[in-house]
């Protein structure tokens, strides 16, 4: 009956989203008077899950699952859910978990609500609030199936520690050859940089930066803050920055704690993609830029004047608060 989460890891360490869904699942489990079981794949150090209220870990160790494979992973989650007689599976909104969620839902004949932004509004009937219309509205969705799957929107719940005693159990799923019809040939990671998906802070530049040669400003500010760098659509269309950095409606979505927009006017498509961020700062020369209507803090000023001074002040602040 317990709730099942898939606790994702990367390079042998849990991702932050794994702890976020654990925190969330624990709270839901308490309201349903049940426990939380976490499924892990090829991760030996599961002890940290005990900090977030997990009672039991099903540990899968299998060489075939070293590379992410959605069909195989979804099959493993299904088998774990069935063994545990789970009625609620909770996944994150990482790229991999979004990929998995629809397969898991069909496997379990479960209704799926993705992009969920808070605790269930009610458990009978089971209703959750989710982001829709590109963060311009919420949609309250009722799941009517016996088994339910929800995908929690990133950074929508937060981490809450809740110590528990963890039972570890090996789990050996039956893997089908048909699960491996997509083979990973190579993986290319943007090395040495914080990814937009994992970042707590994103520093983003627009056409106001005037050219790719000025991106040092964005990178230096990001470095002081431990932030990822991003850019607006015109910047990636002009080829100043790689497409992987484009955030907005047709680019990567951003749901970070702090989003700093520099020289970005704030077209509606851009705002749609970053609006799930909690705190937004805009620095722009044009006081009429639409970004000022959606930001929390604004500075009307020239990036080439403001940002270098901001970097120096942040360095001093960091040194003091280290």
């Amino acid at each position: 009956m317990s709730i099942l989460i898939y606790a994702e890891s990367a390079e042998g360490k849990f991702k932050k989203v794994a702890f976020e869904i654990a925190s969330y699942a624990k709270k839901v489990a308490d309201s349903l008077d049940t426990t939380v079981t976490a499924l892990t794949i090829n991760n030996d150090n599961v002890a940290d899950l005990a900090k977030y209220g997990i009672d039991k870990v099903l540990k899968v160790n299998n060489d075939k699952l070293v590379s992410f494979n959605a069909k195989a992973y979804a099959d493993v989650i299904k088998q774990a859910a069935q063994q545990e007689n789970t009625k609620l599976v909770i996944l994150s909104s990482s790229t991999d978990s979004i990929y998995l969620s629809s397969l898991v839902a069909v496997n379990l004949e479960a209704g799926l609500a993705s992009n969920v932004v808070g605790l269930p509004l009610s458990t009978t009937p089971f209703q959750v609030k989710r982001n829709a219309f590109s963060n311009k509205a919420f949609n309250i969705t009722e799941i009517n199936t016996d088994v339910k799957v929800i995908g929690l929107a990133k950074n929508s719940y937060g981490l809450f520690e809740n110590a528990s005693t963890l039972t570890e159990e090996a789990f050996n799923p039956n893997l089908d050859d048909n699960d491996f019809e997509i083979k990973v040939e190579s993986v290319e990671k943007t090395s040495g940089k914080v990814s937009i998906a994992d970042a707590d802070i994103v520093v983003s530049g627009g056409r106001g930066l005037k050219g790719p040669e000025n991106w040092g400003l964005i990178e230096d500010l990001a470095a002081v803050l431990g932030a990822a760098t991003a850019c607006s659509k015109p910047v990636s269309d002009l080829g100043w920055r790689p497409h992987g950095e484009h955030v907005g409606q047709t680019g990567k979505p951003v749901a970070t704690n702090l989003y700093i927009a520099i020289g970005i006017s704030g077209a509606i498509q851009h705002i749609a993609g970053i609006n799930a961020s909690k705190v937004k700062v805009v620095i722009n020369t044009d006081p009429e830029a639409p970004f000022f209507k959606v930001a929390d803090y604004g500075i009307v000023g020239d990036a080439f004047d403001v940002v270098p001074r901001l970097i120096e002040k942040l360095k001093a602040f960091k040194a003091q608060n280290a």
Partner: protein, 248 residues
């Protein structure tokens, strides 16, 4: 190669989002509809397959008669034929069930669907359709090459990308990158004229259980006013971010 491109008919990005009927329905009043951008990127890639490798491209939408202009636009861009499944979509699983039926009847080699629609942002239709059809499925696909039955494709992952090999039949969830913005085509007059005579077949929906139901909509609470900070007082910004917003 037979390609099916799934088209979602969605409000244009600049549309005002409002609800009617006691906040239970989307208010379509004055709303312009477009091909869902993630689908349009995929459609453009399909047209390249048509031009370069002799593929036929069918577009499909689940929706009422009001969605036909969106399908006609896809035909004007270059699709060979269109199918409209005459039903109001109730949830992602309902749509996936309809698409799986079309796929079963049409024996498509490659199915292309945007990884997410701009309206409900469910992101579930491509994967559910694949699971129901027994097709291979690659989500967040940003590059694809097909040679005979062999497929090489690239998937965007958090913080990078991944190259995979697989085979047809396949469903891909597409996004920007599969083609670029500059590659998108605006229908020309000839395209619009020929689209009028291309087949647009209407079929009735198959039954699907109502696994989920959208019961109500809400608009976000109005946000508090922006705090403006003088460019000469950057200490104030740092102080606010640290003590008020608590994000640094």
């Amino acid at each position: 190669m037979k390609i099916l491109v799934c088209i979602s008919h969605v409000p244009d990005t600049t549309s005002k989002i409002n609800f009617t009927n006691n906040d239970t329905e989307f208010d379509t009043n004055g709303v312009q509809y477009v091909i869902n951008p993630n689908d349009e990127f995929g459609l453009t890639r399909a047209i390249w397959f048509q031009e370069q490798q002799g593929a036929t491209v069918t577009v499909v939408n689940v929706g009422g008669p009001e969605t036909e202009p969106t399908l006609r636009k896809a035909l004007a861009i270059g699709a060979n034929e269109a199918i409209r499944i005459n039903a109001t979509p109730t949830d992602g699983f309902f749509v996936a069930k309809q698409l799986a039926e079309v796929i079963k009847n049409g024996a498509y080699d490659l199915v292309i669907a945007g990884k997410e629609s701009l309206d409900y942002n469910g992101g579930m239709v491509p994967g559910m359709t694949a699971a129901l059809s027994g097709y291979n499925f690659l989500n967040s696909c940003i590059d694809i090459a097909v040679d005979g039955n062999n497929v090489k494709a690239v998937r965007e992952i958090d913080g990078g990308k991944e190259t995979v090999s697989t085979s047809l039949p396949l469903i891909i969830g597409t996004q920007k990158g599969i083609v670029e913005e500059k590659d998108l085509r605006i229908p020309n007059m000839r395209g619009i004229m020929t689209a009028r005579t291309k087949p647009l077949n209407i079929t009735e929906a198959v039954d699907a259980p109502a696994n989920t139901k959208a019961v109500k909509f809400e608009k976000p609470a109005p946000k508090s006013a922006i705090k403006m900070i003088s460019p000469d007082n950057l200490d104030e910004l740092i102080d606010l971010l640290h003590n008020e917003a608590k994000v640094i």
